[in-house]
Symmetry: C2
């Protein structure tokens, strides 16, 4: 990279000419874009650019490519792995002004929206059309569609509808050389060539910058039933899941895990949260059945499953919400777990997935490994059990300096069970070492071959996802 300041001032002038000077941020104005929200990473940006549309964004990328300056795309800056935080002297491209909702079609059940639309705004627009964009993540008020797609976000609705990748029908992407690929097709089936949309989703801005998307929508739920059950063991979770699938697989919308420790910490930390069940249990699940018709007999189906599970010893107690307020209160328990952990002290966040059948093994083995390493540690796992995705979080106040070792232990347990260390949070700059280790060999060679094919000069979010790039 050329570090001659004169060259950079020409580039900065070019940005101002493209965007207008108020949309080229530097110094204190740029600082909020240079630290991730968890405060794990801080970098320096040559500038933060706020383009108004894909053409402006593409012109800026082309200008950067001409000077060999790397770019870092950034959405709502809610990522958990530092994927949108610059390192040193890069140009941050903030997508927030690309925030137009272009179209929603209720017959096609498709939304076309720009990358800077927040997930919350996109979901609200879908709801106005009687539809749902089925992605539920804690940061939806700030997270933007482009970032959600770039990290292939998951959340609480993936059990039925899949992750962001499964919802993406088409994309518009600015490439490393500043050209724009328009793949904004609204088709349910399209076998014309390689699966570019699926490839760009989850590539964390390292292959291209997503500027707009066509997303699959689903009918809004008009009947919802929510229950919370206490379980005597993690094994019982699998039995309960089996009963629920048989009773109504197509209605099963959520099967969320809460460890007893995570639930009790939330009730302690957050005013107004109440454990609705009288006796403490080691494991809980939150279950949602939903349907698009207004009068689906889901309460009866769920009641029957819970009665059968109680009789079979798969659960020790359960509560079925009887009103919208009660349903919201049960979901608030689940959704408060992360905030409660942040209030309670320093945490290690893990984002493990394993085959669903191995969840009990994972919880047992990972717990044993962490306790062996740090006897005083508090283990507060929760997650999306129906997807095999467990956030095996740890309160590490009693384990100073052991964060990396603990993360490694948990990942190794998952690895032994055929799992993944990154189910839905991505790699960013936090987990590039883990990725390089786990996927070493043929798979890493394929990643680098694709990276080199689409970004030969390593200008798109370098050092993210891939630790280093074999440049020629």
């Amino acid at each position: 990279m050329n570090s001659d300041p004169a060259d950079r001032s020409a580039l900065l002038a070019r940005f101002s000419a493209i965007l207008g000077a108020p949309h080229v941020l530097r110094g204190a104005d740029a600082a909020p874009f240079c630290t991730d929200w968890r405060g794990l990473f801080t970098g320096q940006a040559l500038a933060v650019l706020r383009p108004a549309d894909a053409a402006q964004l593409a012109a800026c990328v082309a200008a950067c490519a001409g000077e060999g300056v790397a770019v870092v795309p950034q959405g709502g800056n809610t990522g958990l792995c530092g994927g949108a935080t610059p390192r040193d002297g890069q140009v941050v491209i903030s997508l927030g002004r690309l925030n137009r909702m272009r179209a929603i079609d209720a017959t096609d059940m498709v939304m076309e929206a720009e990358a800077g639309v927040t997930l919350q705004a996109a979901r609200a627009a879908a709801a106005d059309a009687g539809l749902d964009l089925p992605l539920g993540i804690a940061s939806e008020g700030s997270a933007q569609l482009g970032g959600v797609l770039a990290t292939n976000a998951g959340g609480t609705a993936t059990l039925r509808h899949g992750t962001a990748r499964d919802l993406a029908l088409g994309l518009e992407v600015v490439l490393a050389d500043g050209r724009i690929w328009n793949g904004l097709r609204r088709l349910r089936k399209d076998n014309t060539g390689y699966a570019l949309t699926k490839l760009f989703v989850g590539s964390e801005g390292t292959l291209g910058i997503i500027t707009a998307a066509c997303l699959r929508l689903v009918p809004a739920a008009r009947t919802r039933e929510v229950a919370m059950a206490a379980l005597p063991s993690a094994e019982a979770m699998l039995g309960l899941l089996g009963l629920l699938r048989r009773a109504g697989e197509s209605a099963l919308a959520a099967f969320e895990y809460m460890s007893g420790g995570a639930l009790r910490l939330a009730v302690e930390q957050i005013d107004g949260l109440v454990d609705p069940l009288p006796s403490p249990a080691p494991h809980y699940v939150l279950i949602e059945f939903s349907a698009s018709q207004p009068d689906a007999p889901l309460a009866l189906a769920l009641e029957n499953v819970l009665a059968e599970a109680l009789e079979a010893g798969l659960i020790t107690d359960a509560v079925l919400a009887a009103s919208d307020a009660q349903r919201a209160a049960l979901w608030r328990l689940r959704e408060s777990l992360t905030e409660a952990q942040q209030r309670a002290g320093p945490t290690i966040k893990n984002d493990i997935s394993v085959p669903i059948s191995r969840i009990p093994d994972f919880l047992r083995e990972a717990g044993a490994a962490c306790t062996a390493l740090a006897p005083g540690i508090t283990i507060v796992p929760f997650g999306h059990a129906g997807d095999g995705n467990i956030h095996f979080n740890l309160m590490v106040a009693n384990a100073p300096g052991q964060g990396e070792a603990l993360m490694h232990e948990v990942a190794e347990v998952a690895r032994g069970l055929g799992g993944s260390f990154s189910a839905e949070h991505g790699i960013g700059q936090l987990k590039t070492g883990l990725l390089a280790g786990w996927r070493a060999g043929v798979e890493m060679d394929l990643f680098h071959a694709i990276k080199h094919a689409l970004d030969p000069h390593n200008l798109l979010n370098p050092g993210k996802l891939l630790r280093e790039h074999h440049q020629e």
Copy 2:
């Protein structure tokens, strides 16, 4: 390519050493592998290889790579676009002996199977475990999983569960240099790196040869209700689909279109087929509601929708099957359409998709375009209307020599409506010209960049999907 026969005999000896001589077919033994089943394409193979496992297959690919000889992977040879047919002097690799069902896990709802397992065998194995592999295509008795994945096959079950790509959780793939990528992970969520599995699916053997897969399964349907409705117009189809989604989107398993012409041709051509409705109509749909629970009240829900649709004038008549035999009879009508057309004379098969909302426009405009070009033509469209996928087939006995022009006209109508000329059949060697035309520019450059990254010497199924490869 080196055409010195001496060189080739060394290569052939190498194949025999790897596979055993009986699994290296030549001459008359190789001929059945050198013509596609529609008889559109015939080529010459240096040899047809029948490896027993991925290691043997990889060794053969490595041997070919060393000599610069191209390979053509072939499954059940049921493709519709000549994607598995060799051109001249290539080595065909038949996957049929890689036919082990490695595992089915009912808790994970995952199957791991080798590429040569037939779709029918895979579905039977899933059914034995109380599950379903939700891919329904006419050729399932012969089609193999590897080919189904390589073409991203669709069929009659995609409305609810997506195409082959949506079901693929992980793959094992032999690469152009003979190395094996083992990506056989059984995870519902895995964000460790680029979406290689999704990229290989649908790449038609041009980026790698799929040798095994982990596939997502779903619970078997234990309640099924099937109806057939007559519609006064194509527009009414959209209204009916809307009513069905509201009444039970999560139960809606099929929404299949049959034109009046296609249905009447089938009843004429195939003994024992009966139109269950008394008066002819211009359009029909076959509807299936299904659920995993044995006693779901789907008949009532479907009856109510049909009554509402009749009252609203969206349908003119309907029949709801009252027994398994009646359900099978309705499905047989739909499934006989292709065979009936083949019996009736030469056909042009189109594989169009459009946004669902544009189906009526497509049917009207494509019909007008074909009739203008060939006034005597018989138009017999049908397809997967819930996915926007219409096989706009034409009986061309009265339009000799106009096949290509008609295909072009139909594709152009789809293009004008934001559609695709290849929804589920792929490109093969039949549609490379269309692909090159439609996706010219940035998108074609991306295709070639990826092809070159993964197959730099153009040895994997050359001339398929991509018309030509920019070799260096």
